[in-house]
């Protein structure tokens, strides 16, 4: 009886010491999760999720403050990837934050532009060239299609042009050969 008690106490002391020590020794700093979430986000920096950019949104997801389905550019596919990473159940895109649109780039109607630089300040990826009182141009290859430049423009000279498929960006489609279909044919 006494031995049993002593064994218990000895074990308790050892375990307590070891665990207390390792809690200090192996403390994890930072959160690598944020980077992994950020890698999935499309980096549009559009803010439709309710956060000022993709990184802050990634932070919020990692902390459990934001849901995984608030990113319209990422769409359902993005939510699925996030769900997989987080070990959560997939939820379809929350329509409150917007709907997924085909990729588009902003285009400035250069004849209307008054050179106010408001759009330059709004662009999250510095994809607009120009200076005060001079015409602005969008670097199409850098534009993420976030639409943040649309509201500040006082003359509404910016439009979103959808990116169309051409023979270079064209992709082979997933082959669908349904056995039911082909067997009847």
């Amino acid at each position: 009886m006494i031995t049993a008690l002593l064994v218990m106490i000895f074990l308790a002391v050892v375990l307590g010491l070891v665990l207390g020590y390792s809690a200090i020794k192996f403390k994890v700093d930072g959160d690598p999760m944020v980077a992994r979430i950020d890698a999935i986000l499309p980096q549009t920096q559009c803010g439709q999720c309710g956060y000022p950019g993709c990184k802050p949104y990634a932070n919020a997801i990692a902390k459990g403050e934001a849901d995984i389905n608030q990113c319209p550019p990422g769409g359902d596919a993005g939510a699925k990837a996030l769900a997989e990473l987080m070990g959560m159940e997939f939820k379809p895109l929350n329509q409150e934050h917007g709907v997924q649109k085909p990729r588009a780039v902003a285009l400035i109607d250069e004849s209307t532009c008054i050179g106010c630089t408001l759009c330059i300040q709004a662009c999250p990826v510095d994809a607009i060239l120009g200076a005060a009182k001079q015409m602005h141009t969008i670097i199409a290859s850098e534009c993420t299609g976030c639409e943040l430049c649309l509201p500040p423009c006082p003359v509404d000279c910016i439009t979103m042009e959808p990116v169309l498929e051409n023979s270079q960006s064209w992709k082979w489609k997933y082959p669908v050969y349904n056995i039911e279909k082909t067997s009847k044919a």
């Binding site: 375990l15 307590g16 665990l19 207390g20 390792s22 809690a23």
Partner: protein, 209 residues
Amino acid sequence: MSDIKGIALDGFWKQNPGVVQLLGLCPTLAVTTSVINGLSLGIATAIVMALSNASVSPIRKFIPTEIRVPVFILIIAALVTVIDFSIHAFIQPLYKALGIFIPLIVTNCIVLARVESFAAKNKTTPSFFDGLFMGLGLAMVLTFLGALRELFGKGTLLSGIDLILGPSANNLVIHFFSDYQGFLLAILPPGAFIGLACLIALKNRIEAR
């Protein structure tokens, strides 16, 4: 009240330990050779879960996070040993039939899982009911699986009920076929896997509708 209803729904259906969380597979697969075995281990587990949840919850704020897992295990192990002693003392035949699986309740992941994920974060009453309903949910699956395997394997139900109620209960055993060859696979371990797989499939099927 609706809270407890939600907890019950989780335990029996939505988060059922046996067919959804798939925790506690060891007893689920090993002891479910008959209804009685499944039911009795299920009930024993449910008692342990209810008590461990109920005893961890009130002291949850005093347990340092670093050592919470060993402390939980300690509490669960103590409870299981008490139950083990009691069954050994008062229902000896059942103790023989369930054998090593009663002490093994300690290692049953579902017990620790509920303590860690529910009792450590909630008040005592809901914790108690969570443990109870989760345990009963598991017991339900064990009983069902036991019934399935017993029916296919031996063509009977409730065989071994005399272990609990004494020899006079023997006439409660239901024989379905007079001359049943016995489908041994159902009784043997592979049958447990196949049976559980069928149960999970059935649950998912109902869910999908």
